[in-house]
Amino acid sequence: MLDLLAQTSLNAVYAASYISLIAVGLVLIFGVMGVINFAHGELFMLGAYAVVALYADMQLPFLMAVAAGLLFVGLLGLVMERTLFRPLKDNPLGGLVASIGLLMILQALAVLGFGVRMEHVPPVTQEVIAFSDKVRLPLARLYVIVAAVLLLTGLWYFLKRTRFGWALRASAQDPEAAALQGISITQTARIAMFIGAALAGVAGALTAPLVSVNPHMGHSVIVTAFIVIIVGGVGSLEGAVIASVVYAFVHTFVTTLYDGVIADIVGLSLMLLVLIVRPTGLFGSADRA
């Protein structure tokens, strides 16, 4: 039983890692721009396809493909900010609808570019850290965990210790007051969109060898990300990380001890419970909600 609990905990830590990368990006975009980006799952998908194209097809080194995925999806985020969200910045519903349209376009482009079937991504490594016969952590999963910790720590440092980070947080808290202080709202929106998209892209790129890469893979992660940001508190980065950990542990343990369908029900029930008890989420404030 101890082995089972230990292995399940390792599985949950991995799940929390990639979920938090996606959720934090989604929260950042919403916090600064006020846009609910439904195409965020497709940014995750594009990051995975960057690895398919560069690592699986062109046989470039995996880390180079991941870096390219991060950059490519981040730049795509900038394009989205300029062409979709900035023109619709006074119309939150318009931004939401535009992101749904973009979601479909990106899926269709992936189908046109790569076909409908799942892509084969060769394993980065088959090495496994064996704590015992039944407690094992594949090195490829450890990479995702380490990368998530490094990236989120870097983001925390950027937001808390740099002038750009302060500007970003100020814009998220009160855009008008931030603008009066000379902070460029457009500039902060660009930074937020780049970082948010890049985090989704790098999550997709890092996990590409571990999941089925297909044009529709963004669907399930966006649902999970929305549950997480509602539980954590819409607009709260700390909340997104903590809720990712809570959700990942709950979902993983229920899947292992009962089954995956019940785990989904429990995950949604967790969200409903938080909405009833604390409608702003665990770390959200009434202003952001």
Partner: protein, 425 residues
């Protein structure tokens, strides 16, 4: 806004609709071409069981047309496939069925079936169009124009378990997992019956997962927690089979794996190892297998078909690549026998004498007990194992023979999972 939709426009459009609705339902032959509808998922997660089938049909059509086409009472006809992507969505399937019948004049429509059939059934009832499904669990006494002539999914899975039990009697315990959907549940019932018939103990209740699952580590951790001799992957889609196998490998599982399908198994080997996948049992052969050249095989030139398929679509051979084409072999033979492409005439010719020439040998039209109607063509089915990295047919086994001995078990488990024809909603 001023509406341009005047009373005159309304009357005109109504008249046009009324006249077109009165046209013959089945334009069986348009010029010298017979159109066959292909209504399956060509995009989305289930596309692997649609698109490769359409690719196979295109090769089939070229071969038939080059050989002179389909010979009916009033002459020879070329065959043309008209496809509609239903994205495995019942509403889209319904729209597609209507379009294929009304606009494209299809004489016969092939489907994957499953979740999409309930959307199409009203169209079938209304038009009398002959449809085929790969999933006989769609059959019921009400589906008189639906046939399952290629595979009796999931019943043939019993042959794999039976073969395994005879050839590896040391395997005594098993676990099973599946996605919670119309493909997964009847397959679970079938595997449970097969394991019970073989005297193999289930260590746990079947583990169901949401079809949207992407991380299979928790599923696999649970599956192998009691060290089962056999892990059964049911009828999981290839998007699940691959990551589950990879997780089984990474979490150190060393036992037997059995699955309904192992599409693109070369990729699974690449993600695990040749040794890990050695002996993996499933039900769908590569058609370059020498065993398919036996006299009792009815599929025409399987090795040549496989070579042509791989030339055009390298690395994309899958479970359904040949199945829709094999249905067309049956349909062509029946249409030529009837001398007509009329759905009723073809269906009657196909079922005449209660036997049909299935791809894997002569088979019986069967299914009253399980499906409430004898519209499934059932005979032998191959058991396939991976040997030295290559799918190899180990044996052809009779599904009716298994059912004659253990049919009560199958009915028991199908009933427990609400999968009998009179239980399905």
């Amino acid at each position: 806004m001023i509406s341009r939709f005047t009373r005159r426009t309304f009357l005109k459009s109504t008249a046009v609709t009324a006249v077109s609705a009165g046209l013959p339902r089945f334009a069986a032959a348009q010029g010298n071409t017979i159109r066959i509808g292909f209504l399956a998922p060509l995009t989305g997660p289930v596309a692997a069981w649609g698109k490769p089938g359409l690719d196979g049909c295109m090769i089939w059509a070229e071969r038939i047309n080059a050989a002179g086409g389909i010979k009916l009472a009033d002459g020879s006809y070329q065959v043309e496939f008209v496809s509609y992507d239903n994205e495995y969505d019942p509403a889209k399937a319904r729209t597609g069925a209507t379009k294929l019948i009304r606009e494209d004049g299809a004489s016969f429509i092939m489907m994957l079936g499953g979740d999409t059939w309930p959307g199409v059934q009203p169209v079938a009832d209304r038009t009398g169009m002959l449809f085929s499904t790969l999933l006989p669990s769609d059959l019921s006494p009400d589906t008189t124009t639906l046939i399952a002539p290629a595979e009796v999914h999931p019943i043939y899975n019993v042959t794999g378990v039976e073969w395994l039990a005879e050839n590896r009697p040391e395997l005594q315990t098993a676990v099973i997992c599946a996605q919670d959907d119309a493909l997964g549940l009847p397959s679970i019932a079938t595997y449970l019956a097969a394991f019970e018939a073989a005297g193999i103990e289930m260590q746990d209740d079947p583990l169901l997962f949401d079809p949207a699952t992407t991380d299979f580590a928790p599923v696999v951790t649970r599956l192998i927690s009691k060290s089962p001799d056999i892990v059964c992957l049911d009828t999981c889609y290839s998007d699940y089979v691959h990551p589950i196998c990879e997780q089984l490998f990474q979490q150190g599982y060393k036992g037997q794996i059995i699955s309904c399908t192992a599409d693109f198994y070369d990729q699974i080997i690449a993600k695990t190892s040749r040794e890990f996948m050695e002996g993996f049992v499933f039900q769908f052969p590569d058609f370059d297998d020498p065993a398919l050249n036996a006299d009792h095989i009815n599929f025409v030139d399987p090795n040549g078909f496989y070579a042509e398929y791989n030339k055009r679509h390298p690395g994309q051979w899958g479970a359904v690549s040949w199945e829709y084409a094999s249905i067309m072999d049956l349909w062509k033979a029946a249409a030529e026998k009837a001398g007509s492409a009329d759905p009723d005439a073809v269906a009657a010719a196909m079922k005449e004498g209660g036997k049909g020439e299935h791809a894997f040998g002569t088979a019986d039209w069967w299914g009253t007990e399980l499906f409430g109607i004898d519209n499934a063509l059932v005979g032998d089915w191959p058991v396939v194992a991976i040997e030295d990295g290559k799918a190899t047919i180990k044996e052809f086994r009779s599904i009716p023979a298994w059912y004659a001995k253990h049919g009560d078990l199958l009915i028991k488990h199908m009933t427990a999972y609400d999968q009998m024809w009179n239980q399905r909603g």
